[in-house]
């Protein structure tokens, strides 16, 4: 798994590539925690390069969303989610909790 973080004018763009499972999710948690600890609560997660995600990834996303939404200070939104991962988000009832956008540009534009 590879993670890059970029500060944009109105939000943070986090791009993840590879596989998110119980072995790698702590790395993603760390990257997202680093942002929220720095009071960055508007986050776009670019998932176009994610090949695979288990419930370990869902757990990370849920914890981050809780941090971001607190006091209405922001949120984490998902961009370019591959279909098989979208299916699991739906299965797990996560589509109400996370806004998803077809591409990074529209996700960034939502802030």
């Amino acid at each position: 798994m590879n993670i890059t973080t970029k500060s944009l004018k109105h939000c943070e763009l986090v791009s993840v590539t590879g596989r998110i499972d119980s072995a790698t999710s702590p790395q993603l948690t760390q990257a997202l925690d680093a942002l929220t600890k720095n009071n960055k609560f508007k986050i776009v997660l670019d998932m176009s390069g994610v090949e695979y995600m288990s419930s370990a990834g869902l757990r990370t996303l849920l914890a981050t969303q809780r941090q971001c939404r607190r006091y209405n200070r922001g949120e984490i939104v998902l961009a370019a989610v591959p279909q098989n991962i979208k299916d699991i988000l739906e299965l797990a009832g996560f589509t109400d909790i996370f806004k998803t956008y077809d591409d990074v540009i529209s996700a960034v534009g939502s802030f």
Partner: protein
């Protein structure tokens, strides 16, 4: 039938997924079904590592794949602590963000993705979790 033994460690999850993916591919499953078999196996193995072995080093998970005419059986065998699947609470998928609990989600995903889930536990021979995925078109 093919069997492989893996060390019960999160770092081996990828190899476990690839092992069952190959069996699913050979059984003629499509990409979506292969993804489902990989994910269900990952969730099951992650639960074994986390709860049965309590993330202690040295435990093993033996995975067996059996191709049947109507689908694929993935059998996970471990010697960790047993659990009662009936006692795992179903996650409330409609709960608000602040009340959403992540516990039980892995098991819920397994039940949603697989057509049959069986669990047997024996103090001497260990725990056996059998996941069966039916091939589409055979339903």
């Amino acid at each position: 039938m093919r069997t492989q033994i893996f060390l019960a460690d999160f770092s081996n999850l990828h190899q476990m997924r690839e092992f069952v993916a190959q069996a699913a591919r050979d059984a003629g499953f499509d990409e979506q079904e292969i993804y489902a078999v990989k994910l269900a196996t990952d969730e099951a193995a992650s639960n074994i590592i986390e709860h049965a072995y309590k993330e202690q080093q040295g435990g093993q998970i033996e995975i067996t794949c059996q191709v049947h005419s109507d689908g694929l059986a993935v059998i996970l065998h471990d010697h960790g602590l047993s659990f009662n699947p009936q006692r795992v609470r179903k996650p409330n998928l409609r709960a608000k963000l602040s009340r959403r609990s992540i516990g039980g989600l892995g098991l819920y995903i397994i039940y949603q993705l697989m057509d049959e889930v069986r669990y047997q536990s024996d103090p001497e021979t260990g725990n056996v979790l059998t996941l069966f995925k039916r091939k589409r078109g055979d339903e």
